[in-house]
Amino acid sequence: MAQSPRDIRRRIKSVQNTAQITKAMEMVAAAKLRRVQEAVQLSKPYLEKMQEMLADIAHSARFVKHPLLAVRPVRRTGYLVITSDRGLAGAYNANVIRRALQEFRGKDKASYTIFAVGRKGRDFFSRHGYPLSGEATGLPDSPTYPSISSLAEQIVSAYGAEEFDELYMVYNEFINAVTQRTVAVKVLPLTDLSKADTARKVNFLYEPDEVTLLTALLPKYAETLVYQAVLDAKASEHGARMTAMGNASDAAGEMIDSLTLALNRARQAAITTQIAEVVGGAEALK
């Protein structure tokens, strides 16, 4: 890479600019991550209380048949694929999409359908002609329940109408700020109510009655599970972006170091040549 000192200086400048941007993006992602993590904490009581209530009811309404609980023969599978709206988050979206494609492999297009959260996933699936049934894009950095509830309701009612017979969520599970795990979890039909057997045996009065209550509660529970996954994915997104931008800043630093070295070498070479010329000229005058 023999370049003139001026070219090298120009490159250093440009890398420095990039480093400044990636550094800023890293810090922004860190701040957003902290906010989402708070939101995740704040949203936990709702899910926990709901599980508690479901466990109590399921105990005394054990034989109730509800579409969300019924295991049907699977003719069509629904996938909720959660990606981000924006890129520059490392392999975040690539991981999710690859995992989703793995799930689809060998399946006929009529036998599954996709609900896409996030512009990246939506664009990918629509561009490549995958069957899309619903989408939610432009979610806020710290999603609130109303921002996802219409998609969640759509999914749950489509399941209730037997448009598909099981639902998987494909998303990046948040482990910690630097680690995310791409998972495909089965959400519907709801099965983990079996915890109900260990529930406290309290004899509740039910108004209007167990069945009505359970019928109202189950869809909300399923929607809450979707909301929780979206929040989790958002935390992962900010974490992934933070790591990616941190790596980019580090790489830029290394690049600046090696460019500076090259610059010094080039400058030294120039000086050496000049001295040699001066000395040569002086010799010639003798």
């Binding site: 709702y46 109303p146 509740f204």
Partner: protein, 151 residues
């Protein structure tokens, strides 16, 4: 007078967590008044205005539909949204109301009208809760602001 802890929980956060003397709301089976040491009860909750009685007086919340779980020693209200009357932003409510009214006037199809009607109803409940809360001296607001460790 004895009290019982009430928690109002929404998917986003815990809206209210304090000891109350009585809770009045509309349940799936009709009007309900819950006092401490109530028998275990689980019910659906209809959207509307709920009344909470504290030692200092009464206050009001606007809630969406949800669920209520009563234990002798605690009450949990699970709703999609809940707002203490004093904290309702009336500017936003009137905006929402205008929007809903406009939609009602424009649209004839069923889905849109249903939605607009629900939105209008929500706006009315929020207005009612806000006014009632102001009228009764914003008890919850004062209780919360009395504590140091509240945002």
């Amino acid at each position: 007078m004895s009290t019982v802890p009430l928690q109002v929980v929404t998917p986003d956060r815990v809206v209210l967590d304090m000891d109350i003397q009585m809770l009045s709301l509309r349940g799936g089976g009709g009007e309900l008044g819950i006092l401490p040491r109530h028998t275990p009860l689980a019910t659906t909750v209809k959207p509307g205005v709920i009344k909470v009685k504290l030692a200092e007086g009464e206050d009001f919340l606007a809630v969406s539909e949800g669920f209520l779980q009563v234990m002798p020693d605690r009450i949990t209200l699970l709703v999609e949204s809940a707002e203490v009357g004093s904290f309702i932003d009336m500017d936003r409510v009137s905006l929402a109301k205008e929007r809903a009214e406009k939609r009602l006037a424009e649209h004839a199809d069923d889905v849109q009208t249903e939605r607009a009607k629900a939105a209008l109803q929500r706006a009315n409940y929020r207005t009612e809760a806000h006014e009632l809360s102001l009228k009764h001296g914003e008890v919850i607001k004062h209780r919360i602001e009395g504590k140091e460790n509240i945002r």
